[in-house]
Symmetry: C2
Subunit: 380 residues, 2 copies
């Protein structure tokens, strides 16, 4: 029976869990990696090929889409799914993170954030209510609360003030989401835990959000320069306080070993531009670490990027060819390497899901990390 939102946990292994989120547009196997489709496209990929790697859900960026082609236009054209030819779930962020990063061009207030468009310089106000409206117009399946991503580093006082504002905005986001009754009946709303690196603030943030009530809870304000050790420290004291029956999403993470460590700590969902961006800049992920495909050592290498990968880039082409394409600035280089990197990330998630289901996560994670750290084998 199809339902708006249901999270089913099939197995646990320590704090880690595997299962599925059931939504009207399809199931999301967890732990899940969401490829980023910033401007209505996962860059250099056809959506059916993104799907073929094993992706159950994409992420869309409110900030980019509200400016171009605009949320109203996407709505008029039938919504984001139809626009970009992806009929499975889409999670949209709130636009907050991108707007905050326009440090010179924005002005914060209790009401929201006023900013200048990077495209035409026009002045735009983004509020929790407007963010909910935009995500509704896009037809998002999982809507994110509008919040302030607390900068790093921040003092306890700064982080507290920022977290409290985000909690007031979370309440307004909930209301703004719920007024769109028709859309709310088909989608889900996630709250975002803030509080920087401070345990007491993270705990208060979780309390404030669970009082409001959301379908899932994200951990925000990480992967902003604090480093993996600090990120894991924050997860270590935050995760045990998070609701267990709902999905937990670590925003903007990350490198393969970031994801593994976060899954071990109980995270269910991830998004990151790394596989797609790397695919356009010549970095390929392999089971023996990341490699720079621009490096001349690949020019005669008949091996695939990753011997164990099933993607078309690895089954049909040599490193020598991908190297040639990337050195020549050929679009096909970005296409093949992006495809491979997305396959690598989905294989990573599938491996973690299987390991949790079979109660061997620690062993699997350690073996993966060891091999990943060993580095690439030179061709004979």
């Amino acid at each position: 029976m199809s339902q708006r939102f249901n999270f089913q946990i099939d197995a646990t292994d320590g704090p880690a869990r595997t299962g599925r989120i059931q939504m009207l547009r399809g199931d999301i196997r967890t732990p899940a990696f969401m490829p980023v489709g910033t401007a209505g496209t996962v860059k250099a990929m056809l959506p059916e090929n993104v799907r073929s790697t094993g992706a159950d859900i994409l992420l869309g960026n409110t900030y980019h889409l509200m400016l171009r082609p605009t949320a109203e236009r996407v709505h008029k054209l039938g919504g984001l799914h139809k626009f970009m030819n992806w009929d499975r779930p889409i999670l949209t962020d709130s636009g907050g993170f991108q707007v905050m990063s326009l440090t010179e061009l924005r002005k914060m207030s209790e009401e929201g954030v006023k900013f200048q468009s990077h495209l035409d310089g026009s002045k735009i106000m983004l509020t929790p209510e407007r963010s909910m409206e935009i995500q509704r117009l896009l037809g998002s399946d999982i809507v994110m609360c509008f919040d302030e991503c607390t900068p790093f580093p921040a003092t306890h006082e700064e982080a507290e003030k920022s977290m409290e504002l985000s909690m007031r905005w979370a309440k307004r986001s909930r209301t703004g989401f719920d007024v769109g009754e028709e859309h709310a009946a088909r989608s889900a709303l996630f709250g975002i835990v803030q509080g920087g690196v401070y345990e007491d603030l993270r705990e208060r943030s979780i309390g404030a959000l669970t009082d409001i009530g959301f379908d899932g809870y994200a951990v925000g304000g990480l992967a902003v320069g604090e480093g993996q050790e600090t990120m894991f420290d924050v997860l270590d004291f935050t995760m045990p306080k998070m609701p267990t029956a709902t999905p937990r999403y670590l925003m903007g993470v990350g490198k393969p070993d970031d994801i593994i460590g976060a899954v071990e700590r109980g995270i269910d969902m991830f998004d990151c531009v790394m596989p797609t961006r790397s695919g356009r800049t010549g970095q390929g992920f392999t089971r023996r670490g990341a490699i720079n495909m621009k490096n001349a050592r690949h020019k005669d290498d008949t091996r695939p990027i990753d011997e164990e990968c099933s993607c078309p880039a690895c089954t049909q082409y040599s490193r020598a060819y991908v190297h040639h394409l990337i050195k020549s600035g050929e679009i096909l280089g970005a296409m093949l390497l992006t495809w491979h990197n997305l396959q690598f990330y989905q294989d990573l998630m599938a491996g973690l899901r299987d390991a949790i289901a079979e109660g061997r996560l620690a062993e699997h994670a350690n073996a993966f990390r060891t091999r990943y750290a060993e580095g690439d084998i030179e061709p004979i």
Copy 2:
């Protein structure tokens, strides 16, 4: 039974013919359009998708490949077909055209052309013998003679001198090709008719080439700025003198109506960067003329690029979406528009082949031209 090279004409309609070239790597339906895969890739396309549009053969550029990754490297890696994952026929040009266009960086002699690499400035000598060797190393199926593409305009004296040099080089190309016995037993060599806009020179060039003997004959030195009227004038007096039992290839042509007019005059093969280059610069071909997908009039248009096209860009996406991608500089925009343009060109060829087979080429060509000239219909 598989054979090195056989040209079978199934039907004629006036000077126009339809049939197939049979080669060891597959048949080439004629009239044929060859997408250009300059540097070992049809830009922004996976080879299986190029094939899905109906392409039976690709063109590869000797000049680009000899510089990067080099012919020796491609050979070591198993040849161009394996390198780029295309197992059907490949025609390679001789490198002459690109080298001649380096007007400031090259020096002509009887021996060949000395030029500077545009990549690293190194000095390289290209001769008929070296061109044959490179095309053999690449594993080309249809090898083109090394010639001088006579510039336009050229006086009778200039065109004569240039044509005579090309004929001496054609003889050396034939010898250079034949010494590679193993490769010659699996591939074909085409001569190139030169002589500028002068009937007597074209006739003499055909005589010189047929005395040597080739598997096919190309018309060179056109589509270099002379305009469609002059190009058709040259074809009008050249084509009746060309051998009829072998394929005739018009190099570097062209726009849809150039191709139609040339097919009506008896040409069997074409290549042109137009569909692929246009795909990266926002121009889309439709049955009602070419359209600029950057134009703001497409931004709310839910129609496909071309209502009658079967390609994925047209069956799965709106003009509004393709416009959005191209305006946003998204790689997927180039991917979809290139795919569509290649499908358009292959559909054009299929339509011409069917019309010739059914003896209604004039009617078909006129209807196509009329509609193409009418221009795009505005959305309601």
